[in-house]
Structure formats: C-alpha cells, structure tokens
C-alpha cells in the first residue's frame, strides 16, 4: 500500500447559507499525479483554498503527512512543504524572473537577522547557494533568456512557468496546481505536461485542478470528479472517461465539446 | 445628573455638525476611494466664507450660510477636476499624497491671505442663553443644531430620492457596471466630491461663529471626519450620522470627566480602537450609501 501524503476527510465548506463543498473525501498517495476536475462552480478552487489554509473548512479535516492542518496559517502550511500555485497573479510582477525565484527560495534562506545584515560567512554562503539554485531553476523551466526581464512583462504562458519555478523554489514535497495550463496554446500545454512529469519524477507529489480534459487524461494517474460540492467519481483516466455520472455532469453543464473530447481521447 | 444633561445638549449641537463632516467624507471615500485630506480645508474655507460675507461684505448672517455652501461646492468641483480627474485609475497612495500636497498648499494659502490671527464672527442672536431647568444653551448653538439637522435631511434626500443619488449609489456598488449601464461616472465623481466638499464647508460655516476662525481649524476637523467615517463604516451615511453623535458624546464626556486636554484625543482613540477590533466599522451590516 502506497504512503498517503494528503488526505481530505469529509470536508464541508459553507459560505453563510451557500454550500460550496458538501462532503469531500479523497486522498493522494506519494509520487502520484492526481487531478481534481469538475464543471465550473463545482468547488475546485474552494477545495484548494481549504487545503492550503486560505479557508477554514466548516466540517472535516485536511491531513498532510498524517498531521492535521487545522488552525495552521497558509505560510505555516507552506513551511511543511505543501505548496500551491495560483490560477491568476502567479508572479511578483515588478521583479525579474530571477528575483521571483529568489523570493520563492525564502524557505531555504532562513538566517538570523544579524547574520544577514552583517554579511557573516554563513549568510554569504547561503546567499550564494540561493543565487545558484535560482539560476538553476530558471534554467530548468527554460526561461534563462528572460531571466532579467520583469515577470509582469512576460506572456501568459511564461508567467505560469515562473509560477511553477517559484513553487519549486519553495521545495515542495507536494505541489497543488490551480489550472496550470488554462490560457496556454497546444504546444505550450504539451511542454508543460512534460514539465509536470519531470517534477513528479524528481519526487514531488502533485494535485492538479484543471479544465483541459485532454491534458488531464494524459497526465493523471488518478482523477477525482467533483460536482455541486461532492465527489461523483474517482479512478484512473480510463474509468473516468466511461463513467456515466461524469458524462452526465458535463452534459448538464451543456458542454458537448467536452464529451466529444473525452470520447476522442478514449 | 444636571451636568450630564448639559453634556448631552452640547453633544447634540456638536454631533450635528460632525455628522455633516462625516457624510461629506464618507461619500468621497466610499464612492471615489480617495482619502481626502482637503476635507478639513473645505471646513476652514466654509468658516472664512462666513466671515467674509458677514464682516467684509457686511451682508446678512443667514445669507452667509448658503453662500458658504455654494462656494464649498465650487471649490470642491475645482479640486476634483484639476487634481483627481487626471489621476483616475492611479493607486490610492498617489491620490492621497496629491491631496496632502493640495492641503498643505491651500492651508498655507489661507494663512497668507487671512493671517494667523483667529477671528470671531458676529451673530444676530441674543447673548442671553436659553435656560430650561438645569440646562442652558445659546440661541446660536440651537440655530446650528437645526441648520445641521436640515442639511442632513437634505443630503439624505439627495442620495435616496434623486436620480443623481441613485447614480451615486450605483457607482459606489460597482463603478464599472454603473458605467456600462450608462452612468457618467466622471460626472458622478465630480458631483460627489463637490457635494462632500459643500457639506464640509457647511459644517465650518456653522461652527465658525460658535468658536473662532483660523487657518488650521480644519486639521482636527479632518481627523474627526475620518474617525466618523471609520466608526460608521465606509460609504454608510446613516453610520456617519450616528458616528458623528458618538464622537461628539465621547468628546463631551472625555472633556467633562477626564481632562479637557484630551478632548481631541477621543477621535484618535476611537479610530485606533475601531480599526483594531472591528475594522469594518460599527454599522458595517447596515445598508450602505443611504
């Protein structure tokens, strides 16, 4: 039995009288790529916000590596190695790509204030190591040509890559990616899928929220389908493709294209 | 007990003008998202208009009030058009700093033109106060209370009953949507600033004869207005009225029972307390703008 990294245990989220998530229960194993899908408004981003401490669940618990995340602030959760990326505003726009990654390396650079200000040997060594690591990460995502450009001036797809580099800089054990390929063209998406695999192969567990069906089908080990705040299906891509409840859910959303896409990739 | 009654009467007189100041600022802050440091200057300006009309032009006291209000409206519109309109879309810090620059320049201008010596404004009311049992109140202060109440009702009707008021409320909710619905947002901003400014000028014109008139009189008034807006919640007119009276009560009680030196500290303490413990204001759940 594989080791469980993240488990969502009967989580419910209510906003006043509105139920965003009624009962969500699933887990992610170490080294897996799991996708959380569902029609618009199904509660996917809400689920992410709960997992990363931006929202407190009304009921239920989120456990990461066996520890309950209840009451933990977002930066404390990040400190545990559970890192997320954002759908929009995924970068620090007024800094260079390189500096973006340096900011992302925050968790690695913890020094005493006096060391940092006086420039003691340990601080200098740490600074040098961080700069080397930042350069390496920028190269790794293939943006070395844009390293000295302001992140805000990059194309949408490139900004998403910077967002991933930032998240990787924080040394995740597990990465939560919120619609990483939305707005990307086919070739960018293709490159990105390879990047995701590469990240997983380096030992990072991944949970995706995504709309792009072909991408989800090709990259995921397992898929969890959410509709109206509850899980309606769970399993490997092949099962999900044929699952009548899933097709129904997407049809209900009047998205015939999606079904077609699902069928084509079947 | 008698002393308390007297404080309550004083509170009503003060609270009415504070409410005017507060309504003016909450409209500007709420609708335009501008931290308006010139609000206190408009207050000073209103008081000086009163002085000019009564003493330099030798006209009637009761005529001076509407003149001050109109002059405040015009000055407000001028500030909005020259300084804020070109900065539409700029961040809140930038407009705030521009307003600080305008405040410094205008206050120094007032000092240059009118000098630093405090001036008093004559009023046509009898000197002997109205005495009811243990409470005494001057006729001038009674007039101030009724004039303030009338202006509050007028402002209220303007926001709630007129087409302009409806457009202002729509802009407060969502300026982009309002623009799509055909609201001339630019015009609404100018009107809002002008109306807010005229209310501040009215407050100054009313309190000028009660106290004395000097160029820095508006500084504390501006802070008090901010305290009222924060108490009442952003863009909340009813909240601003209640906030005005609460501030006046706090000041009266603070001055009466603690030390008169700390009278003006009440506004600041209220700001600090409210923002730390209830940042959305005391009446945040109440209906906004109107």
């Amino acid at each position: 039995m594989a080791e469980t990294v993240l488990s969502i245990e009967h989580v419910a989220v209510h906003f006043g009288g509105l139920v965003a998530i009624s009962d969500m229960n699933f887990h992610v194993n170490k080294g897996e790529i799991v996708s959380l899908i569902g029609p618009n408004g199904a509660g996917k981003t809400t689920a992410f916000n709960v997992m990363t401490g931006f929202l407190t669940p009304t009921k239920g618990a989120v456990k990461y590596c066996g520890a309950d995340l209840k009451g933990k602030k977002p930066h404390e959760i990040a400190d545990l190695g559970l890192i997320r990326t954002f759908q929009r505003t995924s970068v620090f726009p007024n800094d260079t790509v390189y500096d973006n990654v340096l900011i992302g390396l925050h968790r690695q650079g913890k020094l005493r204030l006096a060391e940092a200000i006086l420039g003691l040997p340990r601080a200098r060594a740490s600074e040098k190591a961080q700069r080397a690591r930042a350069a390496e990460l920028v190269r790794w995502i293939g943006l070395e040509a844009r390293a000295n450009d302001l992140a805000g001036s990059l194309s949408y797809g490139e900004q998403r890559l910077v967002g991933v580099a930032l998240a990787l800089a924080a040394q995740p054990k597990m990465l939560l990616m919120d619609e990483p390929v939305s707005g990307m063209n086919a070739s960018e998406t293709h490159t990105f899928v390879q990047l995701i695999r590469k990240i997983r192969d380096s030992g990072v567990t991944i949970l995706l929220v995504e709309h792009d069906m072909p991408m989800v089908m090709s990259v995921s080990d397992r898929i969890v389908v959410l509709n109206y705040g509850r899980i309606i299906a769970e399993g490997p891509p092949d099962d999900i493709r044929r699952n009548p409840a899933v097709i129904e859910a997407y049809l209900g959303q009047s998205a015939k294209d999606v079904v077609k896409e699902v069928a084509v990739h079947a | 007990m008698d002393q308390l009654l007297q404080h309550v009467v004083n509170m009503l007189v003060l609270g009415g003008t504070y409410a005017l100041l507060g309504i003016g600022l909450t409209l500007i802050f709420g609708i335009m998202n501008v931290v308006n440091f010139t609000h206190g200057i408009l207050y000073t300006f209103g008081a000086y208009m009163m002085f000019i009309v009564v003493h330099q032009l030798g006209l009637n006291f009761f005529l001076a009030l509407p003149v001050a209000i109109v002059a405040g409206w015009l000055l407000g519109a001028a500030i909005e058009i020259t300084l804020l309109r070109p900065l539409r879309g700029a961040d809140i810090d930038t407009t705030m700093l521009v307003m600080i620059g305008a405040w410094i320049a205008m206050q120094s201008g007032a000092l240059w033109i009118w000098g630093g010596v405090a001036k008093s404004i004559d009023n046509p009311f009898p000197d002997a106060p109205l005495v009811i049992g243990p409470v005494s109140v001057s006729w001038l202060r009674l007039f101030v209370l009724f004039a303030a109440a009338l202006l509050i009702v007028l402002a209220y009707s303007l926001i709630n009953l007129t087409k302009l008021g409806k457009a202002m409320r729509a802009t407060f909710q969502d300026s982009d949507t309002a623009a799509l619905m055909g609201v001339n947002v630019s015009l609404i901003y100018t009107s809002t600033f002008a109306i807010g400014s005229s209310l501040a000028a009215a407050a100054g014109a009313l309190l000028g004869p009660v106290y004395v008139v000097f160029p820095q009189m508006g500084d504390l008034a501006a802070v008090k207005a901010f305290a009222i807006v924060i108490l009442g919640g952003l863009g909340n007119i009813t909240g601003a009225v209640i906030g005005g009276f609460i501030l006046a009560l706090a000041e009266e009680l603070g001055a009466g029972y603690v030390s008169s030196g700390y009278r003006d500290a009440m506004g600041f303490l209220i700001i600090i307390m409210v923002l730390i413990f209830k940042p959305t204001g005391l009446f945040a759940r109440a209906e906004r703008v109107g």
């Binding site: 602030k73 977002p74 930066h75 990040a78 890192i83 990326t85 954002f86 505003t89 970068v91 620090f92 007024n94 800094d95 260079t96 390189y98 500096d99 900011i103 925050h106 968790r107 650079g109 940092a116 200000i117 006086l118 420039g119 600074e127 040098k128 700069r131 080397a132 690591r133 350069a135 190269r139 790794w140 930032l166 998240a167 800089a169 924080a170 380096s202 | 931290v35 930038t94 705030m96 700093l97 600080i100 620059g101 410094i104 320049a105 205008m106 206050q107 120094s108 000092l111 240059w112 305290a227 924060i230 700390y262 003006d264 500290a265 600041f268 303490l269 600090i272 923002l275 730390i276 940042p279």
Partner: protein
C-alpha cells in the same frame, strides 16, 4: 559601479564642513541630515513593504523625548506620594535607549495596525502619532508640556582613560549625523538585499503568493516596522541633542509629510531616493527663504509635491535610472544567471 557612486557621495559629504564655513548653511545641512535619516527609515516601510505610515514622526518624537529625558532626569508623581525619579544619565545612553524604545513602540504599533491595510493603515498611524503628541502636551509633569524640555545636553562620546569629546559645535554634529546616516543607509541596504528584504518585496507585490511560498507576513512587516521605528528614534535623539530644546511640536503631522515628500520625490523603494529627495527638500527652504515669505514656501512645497506625483510618479532616482538604462533600484540584478554551472539533467 553602484558602490563607487555611493562611496564618492560619502566622500563628498565628508568633505563638506572643510570648505563650507557658513554656519547657517551648515545648520541647514545638519537638520536636513537628521530628517534624511527619518526619511530613510520611512522608506523602509513605504518603499520596501508598501505600507504608507503617516504617523512616522511619532517614533522620531518618542526618540527625541526618551533621549532628552534620559539625559535630563525627571521626577514624576504617579499616585499620591509615589514618584518615579530618574537621575540624569549620559546622553549617549539616551541615544541607544531612544533606538530601543522607539523600536519597541514600532513593534506594538505594527502588531496592532498591520491587521488593516491601505487607507485604514494610514489613518491608524496618523491617529497613533496624534495621541502620542497629545500625551506629550498634557503630561506636563514628565514633558513640561508646551513649556518644552530645555537645556538638553549635547552628546558626549569617548572611552574611560582615552578622554571625552562633547559634540557641541555644528562641525561635530555634522559628522555625528553623517555617521548615523551612513550606518542607517548601510543597515537598510543590507536588509533589503537579504532574504528578509526579498520577503518584504514579495508581499508588497503579491501578498497571497508570498504567503503561499512560506513568507510570514506579520513577522516580516513587524520586523520592518521595528527597524524603521528604531532608526527614526535615533534621528529623533540626534535632533533633541542638537537643537537642545524640544516641545510637543516635534510630533507635528507636517514633519511626517516632509519625510513623505522626501521619500516620494526621491523615489520610494530606492535606497538613494530619500537622500536625493531629502537634500532637495531639506535645502529648498534655504533658497526660498530670501525670496518669499514662509507661507509661500509651504505653498511651493505642496505644489512641488503635486507636480512630482503628476510628472514623475516613481520619483527622481528611479526615473533617472530608467533614463540611463540602469537596473531597477533593487539591485539584485548584478548576480547574473551564469552563476550556476549545473545542468538541468542534474536536477531532474
């Protein structure tokens, strides 16, 4: 390149008293220098964390009063016959106490007010400064209120056995202020280029993302507030021991505005910004004084602030740097991407 310019500027400032003998100008330079230290500390908050504190003068004033009272001593009745009595200590102790106590006040204000942002933060900080001013005005037993604290001794430096030097003349005070300014500049520069500074920039630009990569917002902002307040307190102490008389007007809101003008005109978020803006706005009155009355000077101040915001919203230093094609004020760009020799495969 940048360091050479900094050193050249420092050398220039060191040389000034050697050729400038006019006491009036030297006095203007000293008070300007003190305000530049204040402006640099304000820039740490405003330019590097994005928090506009308009109550910054409070820390300056607290520093001035702490330092003055430490060196003057006091006897304050608290309740009945219970008094708190303090015998005078050397002014240099007051200087360090000013830093510590102002820094502590920065901590308190930071913890309380960082729960609100934007306009509300601005208003809380103004209120805080005004409350402190009213306390200084009304707590007459301690502060003498409007009567002012007078005869504040000059700072004395020295070591036992090596002799002492009383920094009384303008010449001495100029170098004292320059030394404190240089140390503050160095401190702030190291701080903003460290990972602490990157955390500050990160949460200024995108707070949600900063939190998601593990940056502790409260801790980072509070740290900036403490250091900023401490430096402002040092400036206040220098002011008290140089002018040698302080009253509650030291808390005047207009002084905060002066610092803000220095920072914004020079360029917030640029290390040199407050220095450039400070020299311009600190010395402007010297040139305006012979040609116009004080009211007109202030009008000019207000108008210049507005004009700068309209034509050069980023400030003089960043605008010039952009013109000359230099890097952003952050300066982290110098480390090129070529630092790493490792390959992609190695990581993957």
């Amino acid at each position: 390149m940048k360091q050479i310019v900094t050193l050249l500027c420092l050398a220039f400032f060191v040389s000034v008293p050697m050729w400038l003998t006019d006491p009036y100008l030297l006095n203007a330079l000293i008070t300007t220098g003190i305000f530049i230290i204040g402006a640099m500390s304000l820039n740490l908050l405003l330019g590097f964390t994005g928090q506009l504190s308009l109550g910054h003068i409070a820390f300056f004033g607290i520093g001035a009063y702490v330092s003055a009272l430490t060196s003057l001593g006091f006897d304050v009745p608290i309740h009945g016959d219970f008094h708190i009595v303090h015998v005078p200590w050397p002014p240099i102790v007051g200087f360090f106490l000013a830093i510590v106590i102002s820094g502590f006040c920065g901590y308190l204000v930071g913890r309380l007010s960082f729960s609100v942002r934007g306009a509300y933060f601005v208003i809380v900080t103004i209120s805080f400064a005004e409350v402190v001013r009213l306390v200084a005005l009304n707590w007459v037993e301690l502060t003498q209120g409007p009567l002012a604290l007078t005869n504040i001794p000059s700072i004395t430096i020295g070591l036992p056995g090596l002799g002492y030097l009383v920094l009384k003349t303008k010449f001495h005070n100029y170098y004292l202020v320059l030394a404190v300014a240089a140390i503050s500049y160095f401190l702030i520069s190291r701080l903003v280029h460290s990972h602490y500074g990157r955390a500050m920039r990160g949460l200024m630009e995108n707070e949600t993302l900063a939190v998601a990569v593990g940056i502790n917002v409260t801790k980072t902002l509070t740290l900036a507030a403490v250091i900023s307040a401490g430096i402002a307190g040092a400036a206040g102490s220098l002011y008290a021991h140089y002018i040698r008389i302080i009253d509650p007007d030291v808390f005047a809101f207009i002084s905060t505005v002066t610092m803000v003008i220095m920072v914004v005109s020079g360029g917030k978020g640029s290390l040199a910004g407050p220095v450039v803006g400070g020299v311009i706005f600190g010395l402007l009155p010297v040139f305006l004084r012979p040609i116009m009355p004080p009211e007109a000077q202030w009008i000019t101040y207000g108008v210049v602030l507005i004009v700068i915001l309209f034509v050069m919203p980023r400030g003089i230093v960043p605008s010039l740097a952009a013109k000359l094609g230099l890097a952003r004020a952050g300066g982290t760009r110098r480390a090129s991407i070529a630092v790493s020799e490792r390959t992609v495969e190695e990581h993957a």
